[in-house]
C-alpha cells in the first residue's frame, strides 16, 4: 500500500480478510484456542474475538478501526465479536462484487474506481438505513416465532425442584456461550457454576438488571483465581473473600456474631501533616515538654484511646484500606482484635454494601452504624495465598440474597483469566438479553409483533419496568423485540433471517411503492449465509442439509410458530444435521423450556441457544461499521514533527472514523 493514497475497496477487503483468517481459527465447533504472549512474557489464552484482535497490535488504520468497532460492540453485549468479523468480511465482499458489476461501464481506470467507491458507499448507506428501519420487524416475524423466551423468573435458587428444568434453558444459553469462548471441555461445568452464582445473587423484588449489574460491577472482588488445580475444583463459597491476609493473628474463637469496622484512614493519629513543621528545642530554652518524646507518647496514648473505644463497641475485626503502623498492629493484637490491611477499594465497597454499613475515616468518630455484624471471619487458604473469609448474617429486611464468591481454579493463570473474562462477558450478555433495547420514552409505539402463539413459552413483563443503562452503541429509535428471546444456536438465526429477507425482497419488488431496494435485502440475506457456512466448514454437506431442512420446514408451515432446533446427530456414519421439524406427522418436537425429561436427554445433542437481541445488535453494529469503513477514502500518514500542520487535512478525510467514535 502506498504511504499516502486513496483507499480502494480492495484495500478494505484485504485488511478485513486478514482479520477473518485469524478469527476463523477459533470460530465454530472445530475452532480452537488462540495462545498469545504479552510483551511482559505473560501467556494468555483466548477464544474471544476481541482479545485476539487487540492482541495483534495492528497498525493498519482500517484494521484498527474495525477492531475498535468490534471492541465497542462486544463491550456492550459481551458476545459476537467473531461473527462480527465474518459478517463484515462477507458483506464487504458482496458489496464489492455488486459495485464492480455496476460500474463496469466507465472508461478510465481512475473513474472506474471512483464510481465503484461511490456505488459501494451508497449501497452501504442503504443497507444501514434498511437495517435500522426494517430489521427488527423482520426478526420479530421471521425468527422469533421459531425460538423461545427465557425470563429472569425461571432463574431460581436451588432447592426448589420444579424450577430446575427452567434453569436448564439459561444453562443451555450459557453453555453455548462458554463453548464459543472457552472450548468444549468445561462448558457444561462453567454454565452450571454461573447459573448457581447468579441464582444466589438474585434479589427478590428487584429487576434482573440490578442483580446482574451488581455481579458484573463487583466481579473482580467476587472471584478468586487459584492456579495449579483442575478446573473442576472451581466452586462457590459463602460470603466474601477479602484478598489480603490478616496482619495480626486471626480470631481464636469462633464465637458468633463477629463485629467488624471498615477503616479508610490511619488509626494512629497523624501529628504532622505534609507542610507542617515541628520545631524541637527553641533557642536553647529547651524544656522537657518540647522533647520529641512528648509527641510520640501523646500519639501512643491517643491510639490506645481509639483502640479502647473500638473495644467498648465489641469490634474485633478491622478492615483497613491503608497500611497501619506497627504500634497499631501490636495494640490490636493485645486487644484481641484482628486487622486486615491494604484491602482494595472495590472489596471494601462490596463489603459495605453487603453488610449495610459505611466506612469510617477517623475512628474517634465511630458510631454503631459503622459496625457490621458478621457470621464469621476466618482465614482461608486458597492455593499459595491465605485470605480472609467473611460471611454476612442473614437479615431479612435488608437483603434477600445469599452473597457468595466464586473460586476459579485452572492449571495455569492464562486459563483462569480466560474463564474469568468469559464469565464476565456471559453476565454482560444476559444483561443485554433481559434489557429492553431502547429507552422507556417510546413505550407507546411499541408493537408487540411477537407471535401470540408462543405464549405457551414464558412471557415476561419486565420490559416496561427495567431501567435502561445507556451503554448501547446503536441509536435505535424504536424496537419491537421483546427481551429474553432466544433461538437455537448453530446458524439457525442466520438461516431463518436469510429466508425472511429473501421473502421481504420479493414482496418489495412486487409492490414498488415501498421505497426500499430489493437488492439490499437480497445482499444482506446472502451475507448472512456465510455464518452457517463457516460453522459447518468441516463438512459442507451439513450446511446444505441444514439449509434445506429449514427451507422445507418454512415452506410447509409458513405461519407455524414453534421452537425449531437444528439437531446435530451423528450415528455410526456421517449423517446430516436435522432440523427437528414436523417430520411426517407435522408435529414438532419441542426442545425448549419445561420439557423436563425429554429435554435433558436431548440437550447433549443439540447446539444450545443464542440470544436474539444480541444477534440483532450485532447485525446493526456490523452494518454501521461497513458504512463508516466505506466512507473513508484516503489515509494521510502524518509525522509527529508535522503534526500541527497536517491535523487540518486529517480532519476532513477521517470524518468517518470520528463519527464512529461518537457512537
Amino acid at each position: 500500500m502506498p504511504p499516502m493514497g486513496h483507499l480502494h475497496m480492495e484495500h478494505v477487503l484485504q485488511a478485513v480478510s486478514v482479520l477473518e483468517a485469524v478469527i476463523l481459527r477459533s470460530f465454530g465447533p472445530e475452532g480452537g484456542q488462540v495462545l498469545f504472549t504479552r510483551d511482559t512474557g505473560q501467556a494468555m489464552l483466548s477464544r474471544s474475538g476481541t482479545r485476539i484482535l487487540t492482541a495483534l497490535h495492528l497498525e493498519h488504520p482500517l484494521a484498527r478501526m474495525v477492531v475498535e468497532c468490534v471492541w465497542k460492540h462486544s463491550s456492550s453485549t459481551g458476545d459476537g465479536s467473531k461473527t462480527f468479523i465474518l459478517l463484515l468480511a462477507s458483506l464487504l465482499r458482496l458489496i464489492h462484487a455488486a459495485a464492480s458489476k455496476e460500474s463496469n461501464v466507465s472508461h478510465s481506470y481512475n473513474s472506474t474506481k471512483a464510481a465503484e467507491a461511490a456505488t459501494a458507499r451508497h449501497l452501504a448507506d442503504k443497507l444501514l438505513a434498511f437495517g435500522l428501519k426494517e430489521l427488527d420487524e423482520l426478526i420479530a416475524t421471521g425468527v422469533v416465532p421459531y425460538g423461545g423466551c427465557i425470563s429472569w423468573e425461571d432463574f431460581t435458587v436451588e432447592g426448589q425442584t420444579p424450577s430446575l428444568t427452567n434453569n436448564l434453558c439459561v444453562q443451555k444459553l450459557l453453555r453455548s456461550f462458554f463453548h464459543t469462548r472457552c472450548g468444549y471441555t468445561h462448558c457444561d461445568f462453567s454454565s452450571h457454576l454461573t447459573c448457581e452464582l447468579l441464582s444466589h445473587w438474585k434479589f427478590k423484588n428487584q429487576l434482573p438488571s440490578f442483580s446482574l449489574q451488581l455481579v458484573s460491577d463487583y466481579f473482580p472482588a467476587l472471584h478468586t483465581p487459584v492456579s495449579g488445580f483442575p478446573v473442576r475444583s472451581s466452586r462457590l463459597i459463602k460470603g466474601q473473600v477479602i484478598h489480603r491476609d490478616f496482619a495480626t493473628p486471626p480470631l481464636k474463637t469462633d464465637d458468633q456474631p463477629v463485629k467488624a469496622v471498615v477503616l479508610t484512614g490511619l488509626l494512629q493519629p497523624t501529628l504532622l501533616n505534609t507542610g507542617d513543621v515541628l520545631e524541637l528545642g527553641y533557642g536553647g530554652r529547651m524544656k522537657e515538654e518540647r522533647s520529641i518524646l512528648l509527641f510520640s507518647s501523646w500519639m501512643e496514648s491517643s491510639l490506645q484511646g481509639v483502640i479502647a473505644k473500638l473495644q467498648s463497641l465489641g469490634v474485633c475485626v478491622l478492615l483497613s484500606a491503608v497500611k497501619q503502623s506497627a504500634a497499631v498492629l501490636a495494640l490490636a493484637t493485645q486487644a484481641e482484635m484482628c486487622l486486615v490491611e491494604c484491602v482494595s477499594e472495590d472489596e471494601l465497597s462490596l463489603f459495605s454494601q453487603l453488610s449495610g454499613t459505611t466506612p469510617i475515616w477517623d475512628c474517634s468518630m465511630i458510631e454503631s452504624e459503622h459496625v457490621a455484624t458478621l457470621a464469621f471471619c476466618r482465614p482461608i487458604q486458597l492455593g499459595a495465598h491465605r485470605y480472609v473469609h467473611v460471611a454476612f448474617q442473614d437479615s431479612e429486611e435488608r437483603i434477600t440474597i445469599k452473597p457468595c464468591s466464586l473460586i476459579i481454579c485452572a492449571p495455569g493463570e492464562g486459563q483462569i483469566e480466560q474463564y474469568a473474562c468469559a464469565l464476565q462477558d456471559a453476565i454482560r450478555m444476559l444483561l443485554r438479553m433481559w434489557e429492553p433495547m431502547h429507552a422507556a420514552a417510546t413505550t407507546t409505539s411499541k408493537r408487540t409483533l411477537q407471535s401470540h402463539k408462543s405464549a405457551s413459552l414464558h412471557t415476561d413483563n419486565l420490559t416496561e419496568q427495567t431501567t435502561y443503562r445507556s451503554t448501547a452503541i446503536q441509536p435505535i429509535q424504536k424496537c419491537v423485540l421483546k427481551s429474553g428471546c432466544v433461538i437455537s444456536a448453530g446458524g439457525l438465526f442466520e438461516l431463518l433471517l436469510h429466508h425472511a429477507l429473501l421473502q421481504h425482497g420479493h414482496s418489495c419488488s412486487v409492490s414498488p411503492d415501498l421505497n426500499i431496494d430489493a437488492s439490499v435485502s437480497q445482499l444482506l440475506a446472502n451475507a448472512l449465509l456465510s455464518v452457517p457456512q463457516k460453522i459447518y466448514s468441516h463438512s459442507p454437506r451439513h450446511f446444505l442439509e441444514s439449509q434445506r431442512r429449514v427451507i422445507s420446514f418454512l415452506s410447509k408451515f409458513p405461519n407455524y410458530s414453534h421452537p425449531l432446533t437444528l439437531v446435530y446427530k451423528r450415528e455410526s456414519t456421517i449423517s446430516p444435521i436435522q432440523a427437528e421439524g414436523p417430520l411426517g406427522d407435522g408435529k414438532l418436537s419441542l426442545h425448549c423450556c419445561r420439557e423436563g425429561d425429554k429435554f435433558s436427554k436431548v440437550s447433549e445433542l443439540d447446539l444450545g441457544l443464542e440470544s436474539v437481541s444480541c444477534k440483532y445488535q450485532l447485525l446493526l453494529a456490523v452494518l454501521q461499521c461497513v458504512a463508516s469503513l466505506l466512507k473513508v477514502d484516503t489515509v494521510l500518514p502524518t509525522h509527529t514533527a508535522l503534526h500541527t500542520q497536517s491535523r487540518r487535512f486529517a480532519r476532513t478525510s477521517w470524518e468517518g472514523t470520528e463519527d464512529e467514535g461518537e457512537d
Binding site: 486478514v18 483468517a21 485469524v22 481459527r25 477459533s26 480452537g32 484456542q33 495462545l35 498469545f36 504472549t37 504479552r38 489464552l45 485476539i52 495483534l56 497490535h57 495492528l58 497498525e59 493498519h60 484494521a63 472450548g183 468444549y184 471441555t185 495449579g228 488445580f229 478446573v231 473442576r232 493473628p249 497523624t270 501529628l271 501533616n273 505534609t274 507542610g275 507542617d276 513543621v277 515541628l278 520545631e279 524541637l280 527553641y282 529547651m286 522533647s291 520529641i292 518524646l293 510520640s296 507518647s297 500519639m299 501512643e300 496514648s301 504500634a327 498492629l329 501490636a330 495494640l331 493485645q334 499459595a384 492449571p411 495455569g412 468441516h538 446427530k569 451423528r570 455410526s572 456421517i574
Partner: protein
C-alpha cells in the same frame, strides 16, 4: 553412582511468521502450532528429558546456563521445569501448568508432564480430529476420576494412622524416587522415618521446639531458672524517631534527640528487667547500648529475628508482639519458654527454644555430604512432608510402581467397550473415532507406566489385576516367572497361574480385579492419592488445552 546425562538448554529462534497487517512491532503468529515442526521437535525433546528422569532408576540432569553459573544436578520436575525456558509460548503453556500443579501438591509433576506429553504425541500421530480427541479425553478422565473415588477401586489403599508402616512407605516412595539425593537403602529408610516423625509431631503432640540463630556473647555455662519469661518486640528498638506524619521535624543543635530516645529505650529495659524477663527478642534492630544494658543484667538478647519467625515464636511462647515504647508493657504480653539450650550442628550453633506446653512446632535437621545432594534432599523432604500432610485430607494412597496407570488403562479399556454407540453419539463422533480415542488415552497411560524403566528391561502387565511388572533385559524367557517376583507396587506375587503380556501390545479387554488384601502383604511403593488424582486431571486438561490451541500470537515488543 547413577548415570548422569547432561542437557544443554538454550533457546532456539522461532517460528514461522504468518501474514500480518501492520508494519511496525508486529506480533509473530504461528498457525496450527501442532503442525509446526519446531514446536513438535521441542515437545519431543521435553518429553524425552522428563521421561528419562522418571522414577528411582531415572537419569539425572545437570542444568547449567551458558554464562557459567551454578550447576544443579537433579531429577525433580520442580527444579528441572523451572530452569527450562523456551522461546515457544506453547511449551511454556504446558510447563507452567505442570509447575503450578507441583507448587500446590509437590508430588507427581513428572507423571503429569509425561502423561500430558505422550497424550498429545499419540493424538498427533493418529488421524483423530482434535475436537473429537478433546471430547473423548474429557469423558475418559471423568471415568477415571470417578473410579478412583470409588470404595471398590482396585488400585487404592486406605491409610491406617494407627500404624506408621504405610506412611513410611509413602514417604520412602517419594524419597527413593529422586536418585540425586544419593542415599543408600538404610539412609532412605532413616530419612523416611524422620519425615513421618516430623509429620506426626506437627499433628499436635509434645516435645518439639524451635531453633533460632545463636546470639553473640552467650556462654553455655549460664544457669537460668525455668521457665523463662520472654518479651517479643515487633517495632524497631534502634532509637529512630517514630512515625509522626509527613511533616518536617526541625531540631536545634542543642537538642540531643538521640539521647532522649535512648533514655526512653533504657527505661523500657529497666521495666523488662524488673519484670524478670530472661529472653528479649526483637524482630528488627536493637540499639547496642540497650543490648549491652540488658546483657549486663543477665538477659539473653536476640535481634533481627525477621518476620518469618515471628508467628512461630508467638505460637511457641505465647507472647504478643509489643510495639509501644512509652507505656508500661502489659504483663499479658509476656510469653514463656520451658527451657533453652545451645545446639551445635557442624559449623552452626543454634539456640534451641523449648515450649512450655504442647506446641505443634518442630525443626528438622538435614545433613548430607555436599550442597548439591543436600539441595535435592531438601526438595524431596518437603515433598514427603507435603504428601504426608495431604493424607490428612484424604486418607488414601495409590499403589505405585506404575501399577495404578496400567490398572486404570485396563479399567478404561474394559469400561469403554460397553455402550459404544450411545457414548459416541453423546460425544458427537463416530464409533471408530471413539474407540480410537480410547486406545490413544490408554496407550498414553501405559507409556507413563513404561517410562519408569530405564535399563533396557521390558514392562509387562498381568491379565488378572492389570498391575505392572518389570522384566530385566537379561532375563531368560523360560524362567520368566522367577525373574518377575513381585509387581511394581509389591502387592501381587508372581505365580504359575498368572498370564502376562507386554505393555503396549494388544490384549483382549478384561475387568481388572482388585487384589485380595492379605494383611501380611504390604505394598512396597505407594503414591499420594490427592497429588496423583490432581496430576491426572491436570495432565489431561493441559493436553486438551494444548490440542485446542490453533493459533499463536507472540507480542515481540
Amino acid at each position: 553412582m547413577p548415570y548422569v546425562g547432561i542437557v544443554y538448554l538454550n533457546n532456539v529462534k522461532s517460528a514461522s511468521v504468518m501474514s500480518r497487517v501492520s508494519k511496525k512491532s508486529p506480533s509473530v503468529c504461528t498457525d496450527m502450532p501442532l503442525d509446526n515442526t519446531d514446536i513438535c521437535s521441542k515437545l519431543q525433546l521435553l518429553k524425552q528429558i522428563l521421561t528419562s528422569c522418571f522414577g528411582p532408576t531415572g537419569r539425572l540432569k545437570q542444568v547449567h546456563n551458558n554464562i557459567g553459573g551454578h550447576v544443579v544436578t537433579t531429577s525433580a520436575s520442580s527444579v528441572l521445569l523451572s530452569s527450562v525456558s523456551s522461546s515457544q509460548s506453547f511449551i511454556n503453556l504446558i510447563k507452567t501448568s505442570i509447575l503450578n500443579h507441583v507448587s500446590r501438591f509437590s508430588d507427581c509433576g513428572l507423571f503429569a508432564a509425561i502423561l500430558c506429553l505422550s497424550l498429545i504425541e499419540q493424538i498427533k500421530k493418529s488421524a483423530l480430529r482434535e475436537s473429537v480427541a478433546i471430547r473423548v479425553n474429557n469423558y475418559l478422565l471423568a471415568l477415571c476420576t470417578s473410579y478412583l473415588q470409588r470404595e471398590d477401586c482396585g488400585c487404592r489403599v486406605k491409610l491406617d494412622f494407627c500404624s506408621t508402616q504405610n506412611l513410611i512407605t509413602l514417604a520412602r516412595s517419594v524419597i527413593s524416587s529422586k536418585p540425586a539425593c544419593v542415599l543408600t537403602e538404610p539412609e532412605t529408610l532413616h530419612i523416611s522415618k524422620l519425615a513421618v516423625q516430623a509429620f506426626l509431631l506437627t499433628v499436635p503432640c509434645s516435645s518439639p521446639g524451635l531453633l533460632v540463630e545463636m546470639p553473640d556473647g552467650l556462654s553455655e555455662e549460664d544457669n537460668l531458672l525455668n521457665p523463662l519469661s520472654v518479651v517479643l518486640f515487633s517495632a524497631s528498638l534502634a532509637g529512630d524517631i517514630s512515625e509522626l506524619g509527613d511533616g518536617v521535624i526541625e531540631a536545634h543543635s542543642d537538642v540531643d534527640t538521640d539521647s532522649q530516645i535512648l533514655g526512653q529505650l533504657l527505661e523500657l529495659g529497666r521495666q523488662v528487667i524488673n519484670d524478670e524477663v530472661k529472653l528479649f527478642v526483637c524482630q528488627k534492630v536493637i540499639h547496642p547500648v540497650l543490648q549491652q544494658y540488658l546483657r549486663s543484667h543477665g538477659v539473653i538478647v536476640v535481634e533481627r529475628l525477621g518476620i518469618a519467625l515471628m508467628e512461630p515464636l508467638t505460637q511457641l511462647t505465647g507472647a504478643q508482639p509489643v510495639a509501644t515504647l512509652h507505656t508500661t508493657i502489659p504483663p499479658k504480653t509476656y510469653g514463656k519458654v520451658r527451657d533453652l539450650c545451645i545446639k551445635h550442628f557442624g559449623s552452626k550453633t543454634m539456640l534451641h527454644l523449648l515450649p512450655l506446653g504442647e506446641s505443634a512446632i518442630c525443626t528438622m535437621i538435614l545433613c548430607h555430604r555436599n550442597q548439591t545432594m543436600l539441595n535435592e534432599l531438601k526438595v524431596v523432604c518437603q515433598t514427603a512432608e507435603h504428601v504426608l500432610r495431604l493424607t490428612l485430607r484424604e486418607p488414601f494412597a495409590l499403589v505405585g510402581g506404575g501399577c495404578t496407570e496400567t490398572h486404570l488403562a485396563a479399567y478404561v479399556r474394559h469400561k469403554s467397550k460397553s455402550e459404544v454407540p450411545e457414548t459416541a453419539s453423546v460425544l458427537m463422533c463416530s464409533q471408530t473415532e471413539y474407540l480410537l480415542g480410547v486406545e490413544l488415552f490408554c496407550c498414553a497411560l501405559e507409556s507413563a507406566a513404561g517410562a519408569l524403566e530405564h535399563d533396557g528391561g521390558s514392562s509387562l502387565i498381568d491379565l488378572t489385576h492389570a498391575h505392572r511388572w518389570m522384566l530385566p533385559a537379561d532375563a531368560i524367557k523360560e524362567t520368566m516367572e522367577d525373574s518377575l517376583g513381585f509387581c511394581g507396587c509389591g502387592l501381587v506375587q508372581s505365580s504359575p497361574s498368572k498370564k502376562w503380556t507386554y505393555l503396549n501390545t494388544k490384549y483382549s479387554d478384561f475387568c481388572p480385579s482388585p487384589v485380595f488384601r492379605d494383611t501380611r502383604v504390604q505394598p512396597h511403593v505407594l503414591d499420594s492419592f490427592t497429588a496423583k488424582l490432581s496430576a491426572l486431571q491436570v495432565a489431561i486438561e493441559t493436553a486438551n488445552l494444548a490440542l485446542d490451541v490453533k493459533y499463536i500470537i507472540q507480542d515481540m515488543n
